[in-house]
């Protein structure tokens, strides 16, 4: 295709993001009688913003790629990503919103009255955030390489520099509007090509799809390995709670009912969105089976429109997909960088504006280094591992901290360290073992998808150590618990 259209798409998305980020707030009102209540963020806006921040490279590119590679197995990712919000809604969102803590380290530090817990949570949040940005940069590298022919490092570099500069310059002041815009951009960018593809394929005399060949029954849900699937679903369900940029968004809701409504809308928006990558993945199996190789499969969303439709329309649709993909890299990375820079600057630099800027630059450069050093894997798979790590470290401490008064600082620290250690080791050893070969199948599976055993491990470790340490249950636990669980307005 013509690289020029690709450049234009990328530039347009970047400019639009920066413009809304800097000037969204300036659309101000000069009214004679303002009423604040009517100016709060509507649940629809907020839900769009959450969707915009949440739908990362893994969702826009990775899922279709995974369906192309694995067939039905890839479907668990959209289900898990969406249902993770249900877990968040059920167990965490409302109590955490009432806690008054703005970040996860703030919450654990205040709940357990311990600086050590706070520090450790901060380190984990930063690590998780960085490793969550890495797949975004790898996605950018892939997109640039496939669509423009430039070397892949330029894509990663471009995204991290753009994000670092925009955030450091204070361009995310109106982040809710930026992210809401990004959601609708991503939805358009994937829905419109999917619809055009369906029209082309389904019209009279079109190529048509041999469903039995594209999706043979042997590759259906029955063929899936139960352990790996359950483990993956556990990771995706529980991992969402610990992501640093997800929780912050709930504070924008004026009250609890609005927060619940927002979550409901988010569930709907995500469900609608994920229909389209699934369609493209299925069409990819029919029309581009040659892409089904590790590292290339994620490009199916980018390549399919020009392969199936071709001509100018194909090029324009490809440019639209590029815009959506770039929107995904930019929005998820910038949301994460804002959260991380806030946490880092507060912890290290006492929250100064200068500290925030330096932290923002650092938070976008460190993942860049990691992304350039690491061999790119499948996007959805790498994000899945980050979810597994989050589910094995932060999730148990959050859930127990909210629902169990017996949690102590030592229990939380050993739980997070132990879970992080085992899960981290599994993630690092898994590929090595697979490369060496000869490992028994059950061990390979347990290391490739560790969540099914590391999450219960962390829970057990935390509960047992806390129980043995029950003399040190924090003194203020009754007060904190009351604040977390008594609904607003009942005090």
């Amino acid at each position: 295709m013509n690289p020029l259209l690709g450049y234009i798409a990328i530039a347009a998305v970047t400019l639009a993001t920066a413009f809304i980020g800097f000037f969204g707030l300036r659309i101000s009102r000069t009214t004679q009688d303002f009423y604040v209540a009517s100016r709060t963020v509507r649940p629809w806006w907020n839900a769009s913003a959450i969707g915009g921040e949440y739908l990362s490279a893994a969702s826009v590119l990775g899922i279709a790629g995974l369906i192309l590679l694995q067939g039905a197995g890839g479907l668990w990712f959209p289900i898990g990503y969406t249902a993770g919000y249900l877990m968040l809604l059920l167990f965490v969102a409302a109590p955490l919103r009432r806690s008054g803590a703005y970040t996860i380290p703030d919450f654990t530090g205040a709940r357990l009255e311990s600086r050590l817990v706070r520090r450790l949570t901060t380190v984990l949040v930063i690590l998780i955030g960085w490793f969550y940005i890495v797949p975004q940069l790898q996605g950018a590298a892939l997109t640039i390489r496939i669509t423009t022919g430039l070397p892949s490092w330029t894509g990663a570099l471009a995204v991290s520099v753009i994000v670092g500069l925009i955030v450091a310059a204070g361009g995310m002041r109106s982040i809710t509007f930026v992210q809401a815009f990004q959601f609708w951009l991503k939805l358009t960018a994937i829905a419109v090509p999917a619809v055009f593809l369906l029209i082309t394929v389904g019209r009279e005399g079109g190529p048509g799809v041999d469903l039995d060949a594209a999706f043979p029954a042997a590759l259906g849900p029955a063929s899936l390995d139960v352990y790996s699937t359950v483990s993956l679903v556990i990771a995706l369900l529980l991992g969402t709670m610990g992501l640093p940029h997800v929780l912050v968004r709930f504070y924008t809701n004026p009250d609890g009912p609005a927060a619940r409504r927002t979550t409901l809308i988010v569930l709907g928006l995500l469900s609608v969105f994920y229909v389209f990558p699934t369609i493209i993945g299925l069409l990819g199996r029919a029309f581009a089976p040659e892409l089904a190789a590790s590292g290339e499969a994620d490009a199916v969303v980018l390549l399919l429109p020009s392969m199936v439709i071709g001509g100018l329309l194909g090029d324009v649709l490809t440019a639209l997909v590029i815009a959506g993909a770039f929107g995904a890299f930019l929005s998820t990375s910038s949301g994460l960088v804002v959260s991380l820079a806030g946490v880092i600057s507060q912890e290290v630099a006492g929250g100064s504006v200068r500290g925030f800027r330096i932290a923002a630059i650092a938070s976008s450069l460190v993942p860049l280094a990691v992304a350039l050093l690491l061999e790119p894997g499948g996007l959805a798979g790498s994000v899945g591992l980050v979810f597994a790590f989050t589910a094995s470290t932060l999730c148990p401490v959050l859930v127990l901290g909210i629902w169990w008064r017996g949690l102590t600082a030592r229990g939380a620290v050993t739980g997070m360290l132990g879970g992080g250690l085992f899960c981290g080791a599994a993630i690092l050893l898994g590929p090595l073992l697979a490369a060496a070969g000869g490992a028994p199948a059950w061990l390979a599976a347990a290391l490739a998808q560790p969540a099914a055993w590391t999450v219960p491990l962390t829970f057990a470790l935390t509960v047992v150590v806390s129980h043995l340490d029950r003399r040190r249950i924090p003194r203020g636990v009754d007060r904190v618990m009351a604040r977390l669980h008594v609904p607003e307005g009942a005090a």
Binding site: Y35, V36, V226, P254, V338, L457
Partner: protein
């Protein structure tokens, strides 16, 4: 779920438990090996360790602390059979070794009597031949010492031992004095906290009378010329005072505070008319930020009174609130007459002045609550307008707002 998943779950739980037990054992071993030393070192260590264990539970005061947990290390410290801790109203806690649990129950009344007896004096007393069960078995001696904190007797400790020797008497006296010292420290803590709270309350209460005076003059000016308008204004005034005079909570949300700013500006417009324009730029992300109660309104009031009022053709007030990482940045700007920076410095430093009470007050409260780096930042000069900036941390799990009263 099939076996493989259940197996993974079970393995996870078991490895977790095993790791936890292993850690705790390793921790104990390390601590034991650290305890080895000369006999004197070990004695010092165990004494100090027991004392610090007890201290955490006594430091809350006898009634609000946890006396049952405090009395166990104290009994181990004195190495006696049963130890009771009593205050003015009776025995708070009694502790005995595992073999003496029943004995402790029998001794509760005795301990109460001995504690009452010894509280009258100021020295430890020894009581011999106490027969708790009345059957002549398990007869015991006791030593009781009053706890004298400051100039009043806060309670007493009573130690029971089969035969009381002078060493135990002296040690009991020392422990009673130590507990007294801890109680004095607890009182100091409490009064320090009370002082800080009172200071905040005093600062807060300065504002309201100041405003009432201003608001009433504003209403008075419309009563004869436009009675319906005056009625609206009085209602607005009622709304505002309901917010300002609410009893509970030193904190509010930015949204609620802005609502009261709205009421306030309605009142001011009664006097200014078209001369007062307002621009608002509020990022929705920070509307739920917790801020000190009445911290924005005085800044707006200051902008009106001292910035715009002296100007014949009025002017514009701009209120901005934006999201800055972990902080919310709130700015109040006017294009009025400004103020001499030197004079302002004097006012903020606390020089007595009838003007600018509000700004000084907000500045002092912000510093007290969040630290000196969160004081107000004011950019101003004569005839150059005034820009007041405050930076409030978004995360304040320790500060609660009572839910806003719906108006």
């Amino acid at each position: 779920m099939t076996e493989s998943v259940l197996l993974a779950l079970a393995v996870g739980v078991l490895v977790g438990i095993a790791a936890a037990v292993l850690l705790v054992v390793a921790w104990r071993v390390i601590r034991l090996s650290r305890e080895l030393g000369t006999a004197a070192e070990r004695a010092t260590y165990s004494t100090l360790h027991l004392a610090s264990q007890a201290a955490t539970h006594v430091r809350g005061g006898l009634d609000s602390g946890d006396p049952q947990r405090a009395v166990r290390p104290l009994r181990q410290l004195l190495d006696c059979r049963v130890l009771a801790l009593a205050d003015d109203h009776g025995v708070l806690a009694i502790d005995a070794g595992p073999a003496d649990q029943r004995l402790a129950e029998h001794l509760r009344e005795t301990a109460e009597r001995l504690a009452a007896e010894v509280r009258a004096g100021d020295k430890p007393q020894v009581f011999r031949g106490i027969d708790p069960t009345g059957r002549g078995v398990q007869a015991t001696d006791a030593v009781a010492a009053p706890i004298i904190a400051g100039d009043r007797t806060a309670g007493a400790i009573v130690a029971f031992s089969p035969s009381v020797k002078p060493g135990l008497v002296r040690a009991t006296g020392e422990v009673a004095e130590w507990v007294a010292a801890q109680l004095e420290l607890a009182e100091l803590d409490a009064s320090r906290a009370a002082l800080a709270e009172a200071e905040v309350k005093a600062l807060r209460s300065q504002i309201s009378p100041h405003f009432i005076y201003n608001a009433l003059t504003a209403i008075a000016s419309t009563i004869t010329t436009n009675p319906p308008r005056a009625r609206d204004l009085v209602l607005e005034f009622a709304d505002f005072t309901r917010y300002s005079f609410r009893r509970q909570g030193d904190f509010t949300t930015l949204a609620d505070e802005l609502r009261s700013v709205d009421s306030y500006l309605q009142l001011e417009r009664a006097r200014f008319g078209e001369r007062l324009t307002l621009t608002l730029q509020v990022a929705p992300e920070v509307l739920s930020t917790v801020i000190p109660f009445l911290s924005v309104q005085p800044l707006v009031e200051n902008a009106v009174r001292h910035g715009l009022e002296p100007k014949p053709d009025g002017g514009r007030i701009t209120i901005r609130a934006s999201d800055a990482g972990a902080f919310a940045l709130i700015e109040v700007e006017d294009d009025g007459v400004g103020i001499d920076p030197e004079r302002l410095r004097g006012i903020l430093a606390g020089r007595p002045s009838a003007d600018h009470v509000g700004v000084r007050n907000v500045d002092a409260r912000l510093r007290q609550l969040y630290g000196d780096e969160h004081g107000l930042v004011v950019d101003t000069n004569l005839d150059a307008g005034t820009l007041v900036r405050m930076r409030v941390p978004k995360s304040q799990p320790q500060n609660t707002t009572t839910p806003s009263a719906r108006m």
